[in-house]
């Protein structure tokens, strides 16, 4: 039971009034912004990063993760009430959630979603508590070759698993890697891609890139009258689900939570895939699957439990290996680095207060989310009526002034604008912004470990393959690379189910 001592100490950290307060602030802000269509968790966290500069690292990360799972739930509210998923992981919730709302049962859908999210989150935190130290212990033996392979695999998985064109995603990732090389070379000190500009000599900062590509890019994209077809949200009554609803959905919540937990750990997995998979699984299991899409409570319960579980368990690779599993985790990774915390296997040992403080804050955050979400539904419906036209300039100004406050630098504001424009153009041309940001974050880690490994191997790249762990990771890398070709070949011989195609189209839309 030795391992429990730091876990319990972690609760001491969370229960400090300051941390509790920031956890509450994070969850509330996350929910509020998650409710607004257009800004997902990644954008929200990116825009709010400067808020965390003045506080302790533990407090900052507690707040950012609060924003993360708060936004996860906020996205559900718009899915159910407006048929507008706040973010990709709430897309499937639209089917049954909106159908329920049309039958006047929006409250039931939201209540079930809140309970499912709470349960999924809690299952994943327990899993995180048990599994993270094990993974971290295992990863302590990782050397540069293992990290090289792991980072490469992480970037590739995020690029190929994300929606849209794989080729475009890999191009975006390459651009992220190139941007990461700007500045002085860590080994020789030589300037790279700085064009004799002093502001570029230390390399590009992560924050203006994330705030530009996710935050400003998103706002510019929404300027084009796309979300203006706002409908008045459905009336919400009976937020408490009936005993019958709970009984019907309990199995779906349990299965969704477990599935979500495991899919969340995998790099590239994350909440979106988890919610799609959980929905598909419930539909397959159901005695009469035709109920799905017409207001089946399981159709809300399963994906909502799964996406919350996955969102939480995706902290495992980040905190124990130092490899973010998706774009949102990449932003939290950047936030940790800015706070002087390097996530990785040593974190659990060297900084148990931070590690367990953050992990345990999730229990509290999920309870807060559950307590607040049900009674506050009415407030959220009101927020939905605030027009995007009013919010846009406010968000833009928060972004511009916020980024200035980090280094007191006008140059950083220019960077946000440049990357905002880039983010907008990427969305227009069908490039996912996630792989770029993730690759940028992992870029220097990847290069450093690659070059170190080459030095260790005396230039013989075969060393990567002969070491068991890096060898296996690289094998997985190759398989993932070749998978699309295999699938294409298979698809030609077999007709695919139209429903699955429809689901994928949905994903691409968001």
């Amino acid at each position: 039971m030795d391992f429990l001592a730091p876990v319990i100490n972690g609760f001491g950290v969370v229960l400090e009034p300051m941390n509790l307060l920031y956890c509450l602030i994070g969850v509330v802000i996350g929910m509020l912004i998650g409710v607004l269509p257009g800004l997902g968790p990644a954008a929200t966290i990116a825009i709010l990063l400067p808020l965390t500069y003045g506080v302790e690292p533990v407090t900052a990360i507690i707040m950012l993760s609060g924003i993360f799972y708060g936004a996860q739930y906020g996205g559900t509210i718009t899915s159910v009430l407006l048929r507008l998923p706040g973010e990709a992981s709430s897309v499937v919730t639209v089917f049954d959630g909106f159908a329920l709302a049309r039958q006047g049962r929006a409250g039931t859908a939201l209540g079930i979603a809140a309970i499912g999210s709470f349960f999924g989150g809690t299952v994943a935190i327990i899993g995180l508590t048990l599994l993270a130290p094990v993974v971290a212990g295992f990863a302590l033996d990782f050397g540069p070759p293992e990290y090289t392979a792991l980072a490469m695999l992480g970037i590739l998985l995020v690029a190929t698993v994300s929606n849209g064109s794989k080729l475009k995603s890999i191009i975006a990732a390459s651009l992220g890697l190139l941007l990461a090389t700007v500045g002085r070379d860590t080994f020789t000190g030589e300037a790279r891609f700085t064009f004799d500009n002093l502001s570029l000599a230390d390399g590009l900062d992560f924050v203006p890139i994330a705030m530009g590509i996710f935050g400003l890019g998103e706002i510019l994209y929404n300027l084009e009258e796309r979300h203006n077809k706002v409908q008045a949200p459905a009336k919400v009554a009976n937020v408490w689900p009936s005993r019958k609803d709970l009984k019907e959905s309990s199995g779906a919540i349990g299965r969704g939570s477990l599935l979500g937990f495991f899919l969340g750990i995998l790099p590239g997995g994350g909440a979106t895939i988890a919610s799609l998979a959980a929905y598909a699984m419930e539909k397959k299991r159901a005695k009469n699957p035709e109920r799905f899409g017409r207001g089946a409570v399981e159709g809300v319960a399963a994906p909502e439990s799964a996406n919350n579980a996955a969102a939480t368990s995706s902290f495992i690779p980040l905190l124990t290996l130092g490899i973010p599993a998706n774009a949102t985790m990449a932003i939290i990774f950047g936030a940790l680095l800015i706070q002087g915390v390097t996530p990785g296997p040593q974190l659990v040992q060297n900084d148990p207060e931070l590690f367990w403080g953050v992990v345990n804050s999730m229990y509290i955050g999920n309870i807060l989310l559950l307590i607040m979400s049900i009674p506050l539904v009415g407030v959220f419906v009101k927020i939905l009526r605030v027009r995007a036209a009013i919010l846009a300039p406010i968000t833009v100004l928060i972004t511009l002034i916020g980024v200035y406050t980090i280094n007191n630098s006008i140059f950083d504001i220019w960077l946000v604008i440049v990357f905002g424009l880039l983010g907008y153009l990427m969305k227009k041309f069908g490039f996912e912004p996630g792989p770029l940001v993730l690759a940028f974050v992992l870029g220097s880690l990847l290069e450093e470990n690659l070059r170190r490994s080459l030095l260790v191997f005396g230039g013989d790249a075969a060393g990567f393959i002969t070491r068991p762990i890096s060898g296996i990771l690289l094998l997985v890398f190759v398989v993932v690379m070749l998978l699309p070709l295999l699938q294409k070949a298979l698809r030609k011989t077999r007709a695919t189910a139209p429903a699955v195609e429809a689901l994928h189209d949905e994903k691409e839309k968001v």
Partner: protein, 196 residues
């Protein structure tokens, strides 16, 4: 379905479309009767999707990315590649540039026909106008403080990009500027250039 009979008509007849610019879509209350299947919903979303830009957009994107890759390639050769035993600063950017070029060429060859790019429309000018206001903001903020550019930017976004009323735009832009002043200057003492 317990209370469905009473609750089936959310918001009743008072449903308003906030931006019913086209005026063709019926009020939600009328659509309530038939729930949609995922397939129908997908089809409906498909119709609402903005028009795609056609294959030329992908060609343009591929060419732009390839050009970037070539530039990266040339510059990284200039930095010196070294050898695998003794890698020099240019080696890593060289490898990435190669990947980028390879992927861009593949996009040009295989992905040309994909229709995942969105066409620019007349409202795309709004984005350009929005970016122009941001550029103006940065140019002025260092010289004249943040209050006036904040006021102007909020006003332009509300009145011209957001199509709010004159009154609403004036009142809100003053309110927003005051709020930012109170938060950033008074409460947080952020050293942002300011007039007062």
């Amino acid at each position: 379905m317990t209370s469905a009979s009473n609750e089936a008509r959310p918001s009743g007849g008072s449903v308003k479309h906030a931006a019913a610019g086209n005026g063709t879509s019926p009020a939600i209350a009328d659509e309530l009767v038939e729930p949609l299947t995922p397939e129908q919903l997908a089809a409906e979303w498909d119709e609402e999707r903005p028009p795609h830009a056609g294959p030329l957009a992908n060609v343009a994107a591929a060419v732009a990315a390839a050009a970037l890759g070539v530039a990266g390639l040339v510059m990284s050769v200039g930095m010196g590649l070294g050898s695998p035993e003794k890698p020099e600063p240019g080696l890593w950017p060289f490898i990435i540039s190669l990947v980028m070029i390879a992927m861009s060429v593949s996009l040009l060859v295989f992905g040309r026909k994909r229709l995942d790019a969105e066409a620019f429309s007349s409202s795309s000018w709004q984005v350009l106008a929005g970016v122009a206001t941001l550029v103006g903001f940065v140019l002025v903020v260092g010289v004249a403080g943040f209050e006036i550019p904040t006021l102007l930017l909020t006003f332009v976004w509300l009145r011209f990009l957001g199509k709010e009323t004159w009154r609403m735009s004036v009142v809100l832009s003053f309110a927003v500027t005051a709020a930012f002043y109170l938060i950033f200057v008074v409460a947080l003492s952020v050293p942002i250039p300011h007039l007062f």
